[in-house]
Every structure is written in structure tokens, then in C-alpha cells.
């Protein structure tokens, strides 16, 4: 009995329980038998248990070097350190599928544990959908792509892992990205459940938003880590190459971002139900498409390490998902009559629509660019590349407009914003943009596009920071110290301020991208000991190469001094690693040193003995902001997602005859003002900073716009002066 036998048995049992869950959950829901639903819940946990067991069996096979298992023999060898051996678990196709199935089952288990928070009617259908996806994965895992298949004769030693994957980034980047792909299944399951039951209310929306935020955060982390991995391993001085696989990971992220915005319109105004459902389904379908694309090898990419015929299965699954979703749509459409009521384009919902247009537009453009070589090949039989210049020219402007909209959007009120109020709110951000546009040429930055892009970024950053400052100032006036006031804003209005933080992170990321896109300086030189090269204010002096040989790997590094501002900064050692088994694939040890906000990126392109090296140097301004921005975005996502304590709803019973001085202060005449005119000014100005989470204060009253309290709650930043309009 090998560990791999335990693995196979676990997979088969997991498959059985997954099918069982689907059947029982559906029966429990349609026949209204709570016992069956409870049984389905336990069955979901059982699936998770067996998948954990199967994964443990695979890791045990790796760590015990059981080269009788084909997958283990192909992806590890005796010389690999234990952590790379263990991470080889997801280094190949079969293992990464198992990892995906494992993550799906764990997320399903988390869903079961937190099922109390979700609307009860939906729970069985969500479980059934999740287990439907799990069933597909398990069928693939037990048939065409089984990681536990044994070789007729065990090998003495394994082949080993692709050296590009033997990098610390490998330990965390692929699992995050695969988890990100997978995490779109839960919102999808909620969408399916809602379409079956017809329950698309605010409770449903809250649940699905929570899961979508989690998926979005994981995918954000996966994307940033992927960029970081490419930057530190591939050696071309960049972090994003618009490679098909990178695009595939970006596509669901774009639709998920669109959903997170447009679902707020549904939350507040009851609009866009159909559109939001399509975005959820699109996110899931795109994540399946991404897997299909990576696995099938239909498109060449630097990132795909495993090709096989499995692509056909994913294509079939993708078709099933799309057909099934469209079928449900048609079935449910009559009930999806929206509460369409639109007042003005210059409003928060208007800006969200623009945001959606841009995000979905960027998604389509990227998808089109990714698929175009296939189309061209089919029509003209000519291989054609759609590379970075295409995406930079098509997606670049879209993202710049998006960042601009990101600055304006939060300043707009729901329903309608007067141009006067808009002007007042835009003053400071516009000033920030003007200063930026004026100062940059003085600093010697003459590129018009860089100037526009930076000015737009400062506009958005100015808008967000000014908005935060106004919130802090209001609270400060009520006696809170500044820092505490800031903390309280984040504590009380998590969605809103978490969102601002995400936006701020995105601006930082954009500044990093713009800086490195427009101002990267690159230079190559063949150096002999004692020779030096000058790049953009940095001087590199070459001393020679150092060669170290270990049993399995040879490491060759060049030794260089870095001089900057007339001072010796440090020694750097860019190099190459040559694994004995992959002699023709030397991996790079790139030296990246950061001075302020500028990266000095040194790559050993070639070498000749110990006294000649071809050095390729990139000076990458502002790249550290990309990573910093990514971290800030992630932090903001987590703040948005972090469960808020359920609000105590105070039920106030006021005898109608009562009269209080408070009502005099309010000024009854202000009612005609509509928005926000009801409460005393101090309350209003704070409400202006509080929407998002505020909507939950009075869930019972949603949509009753005619009743005064909701008028107050849909508060707008400028309403203290809007009152008289």
C-alpha cells in the first residue's frame, strides 16, 4: 500500500460524495426537506476531508520520494530541497488540478460553516453548484489527469522541477493565482442559486459581495505576486508583458472589479440586476477560460509549464457553464424586472456605469488581443503576434480614463449632483493635477503622455485624500483627535474607506507603471575586469566572475560595484544558476537594488570564463510603487471585506404627539430640498462621508425613496448647501 493508493481511493470517494451532495442538496431544496440539506452540508465537509487526504497523500509521496508515482518522478528529484519538493505538488498539471479541487472544497467547507450568514433558500443550490464544479474537476482528476498514476517500473531518481519554478516566488505565486481562479466559483454558485430561486434581494447581494470581495482580493494578490515573480526571475526588466497567461489572469479580475462597483448600484438603487449577474458569470467563465488557455497550450506563453489534451475537457466545461447560465437567464428573465429609475448622468450611479463600461471594454480588448492570433491563424494561416505595443495603446488610454473617473466618481452623489457642488469638490483635485502638470516639465519630463498620465493620477489621489481629509476634519470638530478620527472613519465606514484605500493603491500602482513604462533606461555592455559603465547617473564597475559549484547546481555570479552620486553604494552579484539536469536552461539571479523609488536592475546576460561578462542594466524608476500599491490595494480589499458586526437596530417608538425642540432646529421648510435636508447640518456633513455601509442602517426601508429617512441616508457630500435648491 503506497500513499498514492490512499490518494486514488480518496479521490474516488470525494467524487462519490460530490455527486451525492448535488443530488441531495437539490432534492432537499425542491422537496423542502431540511434533513437532506443538513446531510448535503455534511457531505460537502466530507468531500473537503477526502481532498485534504488526497493532497496529503500526494505531498507524502513527494517527500518520501516515491518515484513509482509518475507525477512525482516527473516533477521532483532527490537533490531538490524539501520545500521545492513539496511545492512541486502544484508544479505540474495533475497536481495543480488537485490543488484547485482542494481549494474549491475548502472554500465550500468555509461556505458551509458560514452558511448561517447566507440566505437559507440559497444554501442548497450554492452547495449543489459548487459540488457540480467539484465533480467536473474530480472526473478529470480520476480519469485523464490523475496525479497518482504509477509507473510500471519505479525510477531511481526523478526528472526534477523546471528550474524557472525553483524560486521563492514559486512557493506562493501559483497557489495564490490558482486559488484566485477558483474563488470565483463561489460568487458564481450564488448567482446560479439566485437565478434558480429568484431570490436576488439585498441579503443575497451582501453574501455575494462578500465572496466576490474575497475572490477579488486573492486575485489581486495573485496578479501582483505574478508580476513580482516575473520581475525577479525572467530578466527582461519588466513585470508585466501582456503575455496570454497574464491576460487570462487579468480578465476575471476586470469583470470582478466591475461587479464590485455595479453591485453598489443594485444595493442602493435596485438597478442593473441582470448586468450584475452577467458579470459574476463572466468572471467565473473567464477563470475557466484562463485555465483552458494555460492548459491546452493553444496559445504560446512563457508561463505555461504543462500542456496536454486536457484543454478539451475545460473547453467542454466552459461551454456547459455558458449554456447552463444562459438557459437559467432565459428562465429567470421575466422575474428580473429591474427598478429602473435614473435621474442624471452626473451622479454616482452614472460614474459606476462609466466605470463598468471602461472595465468591460478593457476586458474585451484584452480578450480580443489574446484571441486574435488564433483568428488570424485560422483565416490567413499566418502566425501573428499581438504584443505589448497593442495593449499599451488600447488598454493604456482606457485605464487612464478609468483613473480619472475613479477620482470624480466618489465626489458625486447618488441620483443627482449639481454642477455647482461638483465644481467645489473638484477644485482641490484639479489644483493638484495642475501643479503636477506644471512641475513635471520643470523637472525635465517632457513626454506629453507621461505628463497627462501623471496629472490624472495626481487628480485622483488629490480627490481621494481630500475626501478623507474632509471626513477627518468633520470628526475632529466633534472632538476626536485627527488620527483617531481617521481610524474611526475606517472602523465605521469600512466599505467606503476601504474602497478609497484600494483606489489609492491603484493610483500608486499606476504611477509605478507609468514611471517604469516611460522612463525606463536600459543599457548593455560587455565588460572586462576594471571596466565600467554609466547608466542614468549610476556607475557600475566590473571586477570579474565568481564560479561556485555544488553537487546539483553551478552558480556563476559577476561582481560589480555600484556608484551613485560619487559614492560607492554597494557590491552587487548578478548571476546565473545552472542546474545539472537543465544545463540549457540557466536561470537568472537578478540583482535588484532600490535607491529611493528607483530600482537598479542588473542582469547577467552572458559571460565568458571568469573575466568577461555581458551586463544588461535597467534603471526602473518608481517600480517599488507597483509593489507598494499592490499591498495597499490588498489591504483596502481586506478592510472592505472584513465582516462588520451586525448592526443593532434601535426601534424607536415615538408618540406622535410629542414635540421636541430638536425639530425646530431642523427647520421643517427644508424638507422640500429633498436630499439630506432633514437632519441638523452636523449630522448631514458626516452622513456625506458615510454612505456605503450606511445603507444597512435601515434595511427595512430600502427603495422607499419617498419616505424622509432614506432621503437623509442617501446623503451627499455637498448637501449642507444643497438644501435650498
Amino acid at each position: 500500500m503506497y500513499f498514492s493508493d490512499i490518494g486514488i481511493i480518496s479521490l474516488i470517494l470525494a467524487l462519490g460524495f460530490a455527486v451525492f451532495t448535488m443530488v441531495v442538496a437539490t432534492l432537499g431544496a425542491t422537496r423542502e426537506l431540511p434533513q437532506l440539506v443538513a446531510s448535503a452540508k455534511r457531505s460537502v465537509l466530507t468531500v473537503a476531508f477526502f481532498l485534504i487526504l488526497a493532497s496529503a497523500a500526494l505531498i507524502a509521496s513527494f517527500l518520501t520520494h516515491d518515484f513509482g508515482v509518475s507525477y512525482v518522478a516527473q516533477h521532483s528529484n532527490l537533490a531538490m530541497p524539501w520545500y521545492y519538493t513539496a511545492s512541486a505538488f502544484y508544479g505540474g498539471q495533475e497536481g495543480s488540478l488537485l490543488y484547485w479541487a482542494l481549494m474549491l472544497s475548502i472554500f465550500s467547507a468555509i461556505f458551509v460553516f458560514t452558511a448561517k450568514r447566507a440566505p437559507t433558500v440559497l444554501v442548497p443550490y450554492v452547495m449543489a453548484t459548487l459540488m457540480g464544479i467539484e465533480t467536473f474537476l474530480l472526473i478529470v482528476l480520476t480519469t485523464v489527469s490523475n496525479p497518482f498514476v504509477r509507473l510500471p517500473v519505479p525510477l531511481a531518481d526523478g526528472v526534477g522541477l523546471n528550474p524557472l519554478l525553483m524560486d521563492p516566488g514559486m512557493l506562493i505565486h501559483p497557489p495564490m493565482l490558482l486559488m484566485g481562479y477558483m474563488s470565483f466559483s463561489v460568487p458564481f454558485a450564488f448567482a446560479v442559486a439566485a437565478m434558480i430561486t429568484g431570490k436576488l434581494d439585498s441579503e443575497w447581494l451582501r453574501s455575494i459581495r462578500g465572496w466576490m470581495l474575497a475572490a477579488w482580493s486573492i486575485q489581486t494578490l495573485g496578479l501582483v505576486l505574478g508580476a513580482w515573480w516575473a520581475y525577479h526571475v525572467l530578466g527582461w526588466g519588466g513585470y508585466w508583458g501582456w503575455d496570454p497567461v497574464e491576460n487570462a489572469a487579468l480578465l476575471p479580475w476586470l469583470t470582478a472589479t466591475a461587479f464590485l462597483h455595479s453591485s453598489m448600484v443594485q444595493e442602493r438603487r435596485g438597478m442593473l440586476k441582470v448586468w450584475n449577474l452577467s458579470l459574476v458569470i463572466a468572471s467565473f467563465a473567464l477563470s475557466i477560460f484562463g485555465t483552458f488557455e494555460v492548459r491546452s497550450g493553444i496559445i504560446n506563453s512563457v508561463h505555461s509549464f504543462a500542456y496536454s489534451a486536457i484543454g478539451a475537457y475545460f473547453l467542454a466545461f466552459l461551454v456547459i457553464v455558458i449554456v447552463f447560465s444562459i438557459g437559467l437567464f432565459i428562465f429567470r428573465l421575466p422575474k428580473l424586472q429591474p427598478e429602473q429609475e435614473f435621474d442624471s448622468v452626473i451622479s454616482r450611479e452614472g460614474s459606476f456605469l462609466l466605470n463598468n463600461l471602461l472595465l468591460v471594454g478593457a476586458m474585451f480588448a484584452t480578450l480580443w488581443g489574446t484571441l486574435f492570433p488564433l483568428i488570424s491563424n485560422a483565416v490567413r494561416h499566418e502566425t501573428l503576434t499581438v504584443g505589448p505595443p497593442f495593449y499599451n495603446q488600447v488598454d493604456g488610454p482606457i485605464f487612464i480614463v478609468l483613473i480619472l473617473a475613479m477620482g470624480i466618481g466618489p465626489l458625486l452623489a447618488w441620483r443627482h449632483t449639481s454642477t455647482r457642488a461638483l465644481r467645489r469638490n473638484l477644485g482641490i483635485p484639479a489644483l493638484a493635477a495642475a501643479i503636477c502638470a506644471a512641475v513635471l516639465p520643470l523637472l525635465g519630463i517632457r513626454d506629453i503622455w507621461a505628463n497627462i498620465a501623471f496629472a490624472v493620477c495626481s487628480f485622483s489621489a488629490g480627490a481621494i485624500l481630500y475626501e478623507m481629509w474632509r471626513g477627518v476634519r468633520v470628526r475632529h470638530r466633534h472632538g476626536e483627535p485627527y488620527l483617531f478620527a481617521l481610524y474611526m472613519l475606517f472602523e465605521r465606514y469600512r466599505q467606503r474607506y476601504g474602497g478609497y484605500l484600494v483606489h489609492l493603491g491603484l493610483v500608486m500602482l499606476a504611477v509605478g507603471i507609468i514611471g517604469s513604462h516611460f522612463f525606463q533606461v536600459q543599457q548593455d555592455a560587455v565588460l572586462k575586469p576594471g571596466q565600467k559603465m554609466d547608466v542614468a547617473g549610476y556607475k557600475l564597475v566590473y571586477f570579474g566572475n565568481i564560479d561556485r559549484t555544488y553537487p546539483d547546481v553551478e552558480i556563476l555570479t559577476a561582481q560589480l560595484q555600484v556608484w551613485h552620486d560619487g559614492q560607492l553604494q554597494q557590491y552587487i552579484y548578478p548571476g546565473r544558476q545552472l542546474y545539472a539536469r537543465f544545463a540549457n536552461q540557466p536561470t537568472s539571479l537578478i540583482s535588484i537594488t532600490t535607491y529611493g523609488l528607483t530600482d537598479l536592475y542588473v542582469f547577467l546576460a552572458n559571460w565568458n570564463g571568469l573575466s568577461e561578462a555581458t551586463i544588461r542594466v535597467f534603471v526602473n524608476p518608481l517600480v517599488p510603487l507597483v509593489w507598494l500599491g499592490g499591498i495597499v490595494m490588498l489591504l483596502g480589499g481586506i478592510i472592505c471585506w472584513w465582516p462588520q458586526r451586525r448592526k443593532r437596530l434601535v426601534s424607536v417608538i415615538v408618540p406622535h404627539t410629542e414635540k421636541e425642540p430638536a425639530s425646530e432646529r431642523v427647520g421643517a421648510g427644508a424638507v422640500s430640498g429633498g436630499e439630506g435636508a432633514l437632519a441638523p447640518p452636523s449630522v448631514e456633513s458626516i452622513i456625506g462621508h458615510s454612505d456605503g455601509s450606511k445603507a444597512e442602517v435601515a434595511p427595512g426601508r430600502e427603495g422607499t425613496l419617498a419616505s424622509p429617512p432614506v432621503g437623509v441616508l442617501s446623503g451627499v457630500p455637498e448637501n449642507d448647501e444643497e438644501a435650498t435648491t
Binding site: S301, V302, G361, G387, A433, R446, A662, L678, S707, P709
Partner: protein, 180 residues
Amino acid sequence: MRNRHSLLIFLAVAAIISSIWFYTFLISPPKQTLDQRVHDVASQLKCLVCQGESVADSPATLSQQMRGVIRQQLQSGKSEQEVIQYFVSRYGDRILLSPPWQGLTLLAWLVPIALMLGGVLLLFLVLRSWQSQSDKSPLDADRTESVDIDQNELAYYQKQVAQELAAEDSIFSRPGSEVD
């Protein structure tokens, strides 16, 4: 008064920005060094022996030679477009990193642009129909009538809002708003 003030500031700011942009764009277009021009051209060409890398990024020998050719041709007075055309005539369209603006590959550029424009148009039409819907909606009439709300009821609602807000965030609590 304050509003006129802010309008003036806003207009001034817009004027500053646009004049700077016009100045940098029209009057003093940036002078590029030869290195930059070589890089510009090389980054539009695909390295034929590598995977997904441009001639500018690739360390391969072929790419090094191609960079040398680009430098020579630019030095001899050819424009960037002419150098790119030279490589296309020798290697075909596959050397380009982005599809050329002609023939079938024009579609690669036109479809995203058309989709964007179509999206804007669709959004415009949808919004217009929504707006006309909401103009006719009876809810609107209700809203204007709700001015004649009973004062007691109004006070009650105000109280409830104040109380809910106070429960939500201590900053909203104020003396005199407690309800017995």
C-alpha cells in the same frame, strides 16, 4: 460669491493644464537620443528566436545584431517607420509585435475601438430610456407631494434617524435627541 470664486479657480486651473500640455506637445517636442530611438524601434519588433520577447528586451545574439542594424539605419537618416518597414520586408508581418494597420489585422485594432464606441452608444440609449421612464414614473409625483408631511410624523422620523445614527456612531449622539 464663493461659488464664482471656485469657478474662476477651476477655469484657471484648466487653462494652466491645457497650456502646459500644448506647450510640451506642440512647441517643444522632446528631443530623443539615438539610444531611445533604437529602443523605440526595437521594442516594436519581435525577437524571432525567443518566446514573447521584443528585440529590445531579448539578450539573444540575433536581437543584438538587429539592434545594431537599427542603430546603423537610424544613424544613416532613416525614419523609425522606414526601419520597421525594412524589417517587415525581410521577415514579413510576423516580426511585428503589434498587428499592422492594414488588411485583416486592422480588425485587431478596429474591433476594440468599435466595441468601446458601441458601448458608449448603448449606454447612452439605455440611460435615455431609463431617464424617460423615471420622468413618467408615478413615484416622482409622490415625491413632490410628500412635502405636505405631517410635522409630528416628520419629527418622529428625524428622531429615529438621529437615534439610529447615534447607535451606529457615537459622533452622532447629541443631547436632547434621546427618545424615551
